[in-house]
Amino acid sequence: MGHRTPLYDAHLAAGGKMVDFGGWDMPIHYGSQLEEHHAVRQHAGAFDVSHMTVVDVQGGDARAYLRHLLANDIDKVKAGRAIYTCMLNERGGVVDDLIVYKGDNDYRLVVNCATREKDLDWMENQAGGFAVDIHERPDLAMIAVQGPEARAILEKVLCEAGAKAVAGLPFFGFEYVGEWLIARTGYTGEDGAEIILPGIKAEDLWQRLVDAGVRPTGLGARDTLRLEAGLNLYGNDMDEDITPWEAGLGWTVALDDADRDFVGRAALEKQKTEGHRQLLGLVLEGKGVLRAHQGVHVPGGSVGPDGEITSGTFSPTLGKAVALARLPAGTTGTVEVEIRNKRLNARVVRAPFVRNGKATYKPL
């Protein structure tokens, strides 16, 4: 038996098909992944993401510590805003990607569940010489409510202060309402919020959301939604041997402050000069489904594959297969993907594929 979130019984009651996910028993879907996907794009869906690891970082050196640990610079945002970043090893490879919710003197980090132990070890190892307290919060649950109607429904479901917060938050803004952290963040390419709250309160909020018409949505749709939105998945699109440059995450690397010597900086600067592969979007022109690890051939390339799909799926919104693929720098036009010993044409595009319910990709 795996770990269970406070919503385990609610998932079973809703007909959730439970699977092992990084040691947790989580719902992959509640009947139809496709219907759940469309519900999030068109109305609102709720995700139990309580399996993710919440870590609070406090102490006099918290700011200096995080500016050392993270490739993005928390100084770029003010308190009350979230920032997406990677933490890197000395080779510039991605140890994990995470969100930092920046408070006045405190920081809340949300890291992946599959990488929990190595992340916590890494964070402790990097804390030498810093006066920081790194404190995991297994007592907290996390619910994401996503979709064009998500915030309007949350305004009705939450207490007055919570409703006010949800209504007024800017994109990537957050507010503490009592013990609840309410953030306008997500992993779907739709508007919405993520709520980190005491585990004992999670089932009540979940039930109120469902009663208000929000559709329980499983990890299956979470994956197709994030891929349509062009958002990376750790372990698929990047890992410890892949740098942010090679994972389409250059925008999360802050090199502006030359005095900030974050872990992996030297390796990133070296690779930036030498050149590197790119993570680009693909849209399959014909019928079929793109999947991770399929080989990609570029025009005039070598005999073997020149690149590889890192995440691929059938996009329910577009009705065609889409993928992220690691390709030689500057690849444009049409490439060929190896699918079961056949080569099918795919168009190289700039992701995201879908944002706010609409196709957004641009041919390269």
Partner: protein, 128 residues
Amino acid sequence: MSEIPADLRYRDSHEWVRVEDDIAVVGISDHAQDAMGDLVFVEMPEVGVVFAAGDEAGVVESVKAASDIYAPVSGEVVAVNEALEDEPELVNNEPYAGGWLFKIKMADSGELKEMLTADQYQEQIDSE
């Protein structure tokens, strides 16, 4: 509980066969479609192709994964379900009716005896 009609024969790889004279109508079981999740693409054999029992005959792809479909009996493909091109979800919604995949003109109807009965297929699922 998934549905397993008693009048069909099954393969351990989850295809079913319905016999209509010398024609074998082939599909995948309710259990298989449920395990795969929403289907989004079906790659069919071409009409006229001749299979030996056990040959790879096509592929069904769900949002999650691709699965090979094997010819349950030997013979020539005489029809494919073209409705699945636009509505692969028929396999999810009606696995034993509108979601059939293709039809084979059987070369040897004796092969049917080697396929599983509904009871045997149920036992196999229970032991998985």
